[in-house]
Homo-oligomer: 402 residues x 2
């Protein structure tokens, strides 16, 4: 089994059986392939006798999106597994446990989280996760601080930059987030009812300028090891537990990109609620909950990040008067800019989010899309001038009354 | 000869003899070891019969500075030779030709440039190099543009970032340029007569803040493949020819660091001329020549860099209105900040420059050092607010009248 080939279900079960010290003798295996088949095979393998289970995730050598297929490096399985291990060393309770990684098969064997829900699904259904802000801010503060030059020996950090060079998956982001949505690219995919708003974005020079600067940061600012794709579809959640999954886009980039991804996806749900909650009061309340979550995420993140800074800062110059405050402000500004760009791509670009895309009535969907575009645009135009997370909340509220 | 060991002179000659198609049959070899013995062995090997010659440069596994010795990676020989080859692909006339590189021996065989002078020496002697500004601006524009995301496919660029990760040599810069000069570090080495000025720098919070931000850029902004140590001691020169040597500090960093290094070293010579040219009019004229060279370097660099941008920009977003102008302004600002930090380290830090250090009279030297510190400090405080290279020239002129 050492040469790469896509596993059959039977081979997956055999692989699982041979993992040392996991399944007991006499296990009776049940296997289901639960991946979406676009990028990876995902086998859920359980033993009816002991009740134990695990996940085998195998990268496929191509990506399938809207029917098209292009080759995609298997190295992303290595990156995913190595990022997970690194994250586990910092906040083990917030990522799935990795049992083993098999480079030849591009295969990661990891903890089964079937008792969790994909957070995006949960939010669409109107569920609240009161611990999410605390959990994700903890994840962000730990992973971003301790992989950066602030919290990690600067020579070790350079070796990690080298370890996590990820050209192919970064290219997906560079094209689909920072380029195609801003002109009439073939990959774009948007509701014809918002054509006017889309064209306005294509003609907005000031917006395009800010996106160019954000893109430059994504291309050049190797601040910390990012998850790289931290939307609510990459979060498994219950009332008590949060698990961040799928870091195959991991690389050294600007911290604000991860923080902004979380904010953007909460705001996309905020926009989508136009259609999901009919009762006006209930909708308003849920949106208030989402905005409060955003406020809490930034506030708790900033608190913890700065606590790490004070306690574990490895850099003499990080103690210089005014530097930390300036750094945090730039971090907030980046987060806001990246949040905006992550919203716009989900409305105009190739890949959409179920919070909005699964609104079947096109008129209703267009209302949510206009809210999302308006927030995204305002955040991008604000970014380098922002001073407080409250400005994000004001923008989100204002977008409902336009 | 495949295992690493420091070559004897006899072994160096044998090595040279065996290089294919270089020296003719019956060559009569003369060899001189011309390195300073601190970091590298440098053998100059020539054939008395044909007159042909070449340089064997071998990295030593340690560095010796002011009597101390610490281990230093041999990988720097690979980096030096690979940077030279990459630079040669962009501007072959401005770097020594590499005949071969032997990784096992950390040995580069390259063109003999003995007919050139080290530029620092030439400037101390009061020589002018009217073609230098054109040559070095060409070098900077080519190497910085075509290794950046602006001029190179962004996925290839990431692989080059990986290829040129250079932790050990970057650490020397991080410590000796961006850290130690700003507090009472043991490695510092300064003229006791300027103790007051040095202590003022240690107490200047605003300056320390700017240095922290510059250091952060050095640590995180992977803009382009830098030479990394582009002072006038890394330039071999004649009236007609300029050759940039010794890129062992090469890595992906902020472009302004290379541009700033050139500016800083011209200004250090400017400060040192206090002692070298006795005649006031002649001194004034030489200094005007140095300032004009700085103006020309920036102006010609900016012209050529933008010409490459227009002609060979690979990035759609680089055409966005206002982006190029903004980029060039930030590049100027970075260059000014890094120039200032490279001046201060040469006065307070471990490694000094002959332009000033070889002034034997301590009082006279202190006068030059005060000029250099004053310019360096002003450039650092100016950096993020600068709008024109003329501000650099005004600062340099102003420092003479303080």
């Amino acid at each position: 089994m050492s040469q790469y080939h896509a596993l059959s279900e039977q081979e997956a079960v055999e692989y699982a059986r041979n993992i040392p010290n996991f399944f007991p003798e006499g296990a009776e295996f049940v296997s289901r392939e639960i991946g979406d088949g676009n990028l990876n095979l995902v086998f859920h393998i359980s033993d009816k006798v002991s009740g134990k289970s695990l996940i085998l995730k195998q990268a496929l050598p191509y990506a399938k999106v809207v029917g098209e297929s292009w080759p995609l490096t298997l190295d992303r399985a290595r990156i995913e597994s190595e990022v997970l291990l690194l994250e586990a060393s910092l906040c083990p309770e917030l990522v799935p446990h990795v049992y083993t990684y098999d480079p030849a098969l591009a295969l990661t064997v990891m903890e089964d989280l079937s008792d969790h829900t994909i957070m995006r699904r949960g939010l669409i259904e109107g569920n609240r996760y009161p611990l999410f802000a605390a959990h994700i801010s903890h994840f962000l503060a730990k992973t971003l601080f301790y992989t950066s030059d602030l919290g990690l020996n600067q020579q070790e950090k350079k070796l990690k930059v080298q370890q996590f060079i990820n050209p192919e998956l970064c290219k997906i982001t560079e094209d689909l987030i920072f380029d195609h949505p801003y002109w009439n690219a073939e990959t774009n995919n948007y509701n014809p009812l918002i054509r006017k708003e889309v064209e306005q974005i294509w003609q907005n020079d000031k917006l395009q300028f800010e996106v160019a600067v954000l893109r430059e940061k994504f291309l050049t600012h190797a601040q910390a090891l990012l998850h790289g794709d931290l939307h609510t579809g990459s979060v498994f959640i219950t009332a008590r537990s949060t698990k961040v999954i799928d870091p195959e886009f991991g690389f050294y980039g600007p911290m604000g990109f991860d923080i902004g991804a979380v904010i953007a996806n909460l705001l996309l749900n905020y926009a989508g609620q136009e259609a999901w909650i009919a009762d006006e009061k209930a909708r308003h309340d849920f949106r208030e909950y989402l905005l409060e979550t955003i406020r809490d995420i930034w506030t708790l993140f900033a608190e913890q990040f700065q606590a790490h800074w004070t306690q574990d800062g490895v850099d003499r110059l990080s103690k210089v008067a005014g530097y930390r405050e300036d750094y945090m402000l730039r971090l907030l500004q980046d987060s806001i800019g990246f949040a905006g760009s992550k919203m716009i791509r989900r409305i105009i670009g190739l890949a959409h989010v179920a919070d909005i895309q699964s609104i079947l009535d096109l008129e209703a969907r267009a209302r949510s899309e206009r809210i999302a575009l308006s927030i995204g645009e305002s955040l991008i135009l604000l970014n380098r001038h922002a001073h407080s997370i409250e400005e994000v909340i004001d923008i989100a509220k204002g977008a409902l009354t336009e």
